[in-house]
């Protein structure tokens, strides 16, 4: 290595480039806030500056306001938590009027998580959001029950997945991530259905369905009985599904589920994720974005890598 190359390498090592292209959404680093725990950003915006975060996936938005589930909505579990918020949200119009203007002021990529009870509702929300400035992408949450098909989640069936993604694809030119539910036997089939229907990226995993029982009251602990399990407890499941999805599709993957350290984030990237999102981890540490970004930077420096590209899926090859 001559002196010039050594210097160049040195330079790279000093400032590795963390930026990634997530299906057309350009991120300054691979760390996003997962949909839900972060709400519409305002509260965490008071708490920390967003300098180390690349973007926010805002809480699920539906056509009409949803009131959500009765309390208790959350409870802690070993190395995780259950939530049954029930996708409470103020509805599309209120989101656009009250929350989007604030989100536009942030120097962050804004991805809107879209929920619905029918293909039509998904499509309407996506269409309306596509007309608004300041939105960098959509994330289609297909864990919602398909009311017309007996209440099973769209995302548990490849055909229903294809239909809903296709319908939304027709309505929007925004980068479109499809967020899969882990409560399936074969995640690869679902990921492929989403890809074929036009998704620009796959997000996973949403929460695992779970419950706890209050043995004093002899009743389910959560108001809704069932809730979604998140946090470090589920990370091995999430990582396995990211790996399987990455084997199944060519579009990029946004990995999430239990990330609380830079090493966790790296594991997702090495399994095949282009970027990662954090939900529950922010509850343990509101400054987690900084921990992850710094940790990834240090890893790249230590390995003498200029960026994350070479690491994506490396454990699979």
């Amino acid at each position: 290595m001559d002196e010039k190359t050594a210097n160049q390498r040195q330079e790279k090592i000093i400032a590795p480039d963390l930026s990634v292209d997530l299906g057309g959404i350009i991120l300054k680093n691979p760390v996003l806030a997962a949909s839900g725990p972060f709400g519409y950003g305002r509260e965490y915006g008071e708490l920390t500056n967003f300098k180390d975060l690349a973007g926010i996936i805002v809480k699920g938005v539906s056509l009409e306001p949803w009131s959500g589930n009765p309390p208790p909505r959350i409870t802690e579990t070993p190395a995780g938590m259950l939530n049954a918020v029930g996708l409470q949200n103020p509805g599309l119009e209120s989101f656009i009027k009250d929350d989007l203007p604030y989100l536009r002021t942030l120097d962050l990529r804004i991805i809107v998580n879209v929920v619905g009870c029918s293909i039509d509702e998904y499509a309407k929300v996506a269409c309306r959001l596509s007309g608004e400035a300041g939105i960098d992408g959509l994330e289609l949450n297909i864990s919602c029950p398909n009311i017309k098909a007996g209440g099973m989640a769209f995302g548990t069936d490849p055909a229903a997945t294809h239909l809903v993604v296709e319908a939304v694809r027709r309505e929007t030119k925004l980068p479109l991530l499809v967020k899969l539910t882990p409560n399936v036997a074969d995640i690869g089939i679902i990921a492929r259905a989403a890809e074929e229907a036009g998704a620009d990226g796959i997000s996973l995993i949403n929460t695992l369905s779970g419950m706890l029982i209050d043995t004093v009251k002899k009743r389910p602990l959560l108001g809704n009985a069932f809730g979604g399990l998140s946090g470090p407890a589920i990370m091995p499941v999430a990582l396995r599904m990211v790996w399987q999805a990455a084997e199944a599709v060519r579009i990029p993957i946004l990995g999430m589920g239990g990330i609380t350290t830079a090493d966790d984030a790296l594991q997702f990237i090495m399994a095949g994720a282009r970027a990662v999102a954090v939900g529950t981890g922010f509850f343990y540490n509101p400054e987690l974005a900084k921990v992850l970004k710094t940790g990834l930077e240090q890893y790249l420096k230590k390995e003498g890598l200029a960026g994350l590209k070479q690491l994506e899926g490396i454990a699979r090859f």
Partner: protein, 263 residues
Amino acid sequence: MLLLKEQPGVKYRQESCPVLENRSMGPGFCRITLAAPAIASLVEPGQFVQIFMPQEHPHMLPRPFSVHKADPENGIITILVEIKGQGSRLLASREPGSFLKLLGPLGNGFPPPPPGSILVAGGMGVAPLAFLAESVKYSRTLLYCARTADLLICPEADFNIPGLQIMRATDDGTAGFRGTAADLLSGCIAEAPAVFACGPRPMLVAVKEICLKRRVRAWLSLEERMACGVGACVGCVVPTIKGYKRVCRDGPVFPAEEVILDG
């Protein structure tokens, strides 16, 4: 509305706080004093802090605790802890000199109690109400109630506050009046302009009923399981006549007539 303060600027802080003292208050209870200058200078009665768990427990949610005393001059706050599960047990075992990360003050807090107000504390409900009692100078009455004498963990000396009348009650009569908080309240509510209450759910239900019947304004401080503590996750809601409200952000203090306690 008087209660739900608008929060234009950020009014809470994260601090890494040394434990100054950790004193047992009888079996199952302790009182922890922490150096938390920013929080001490901002906190108002009825507000709470989220206490993050020590590093050896990286996968536990923070736990909410009411501020019991605040000394802004010395930058000190005190909390009362009832040991219920793993989180409170960990806090109870923290040695002086160790650190705890705190986020606060959170929540809306109580509105200022008018002269002659009655403060109803059930068990650990005394934590925020003692703070409220100390925050004003004029006359007010604190009803301090529990199932049995051992659960009245705050000693008499704690309430050596000028102008404060204090009445105790226990369900089993082992200390003070024999009866429930509701019994005691019914007997003395006549002249009161307002009631402020914190304690177990059944007590709050009774207080609400009494106050609505007598048309006395009442403010109830509620508890719910929390995750973020700042209003983002919508995990800690209670039903109110205006829909679900977040205990951590819209509360923990709610007007009795708004909150739906057994819905």
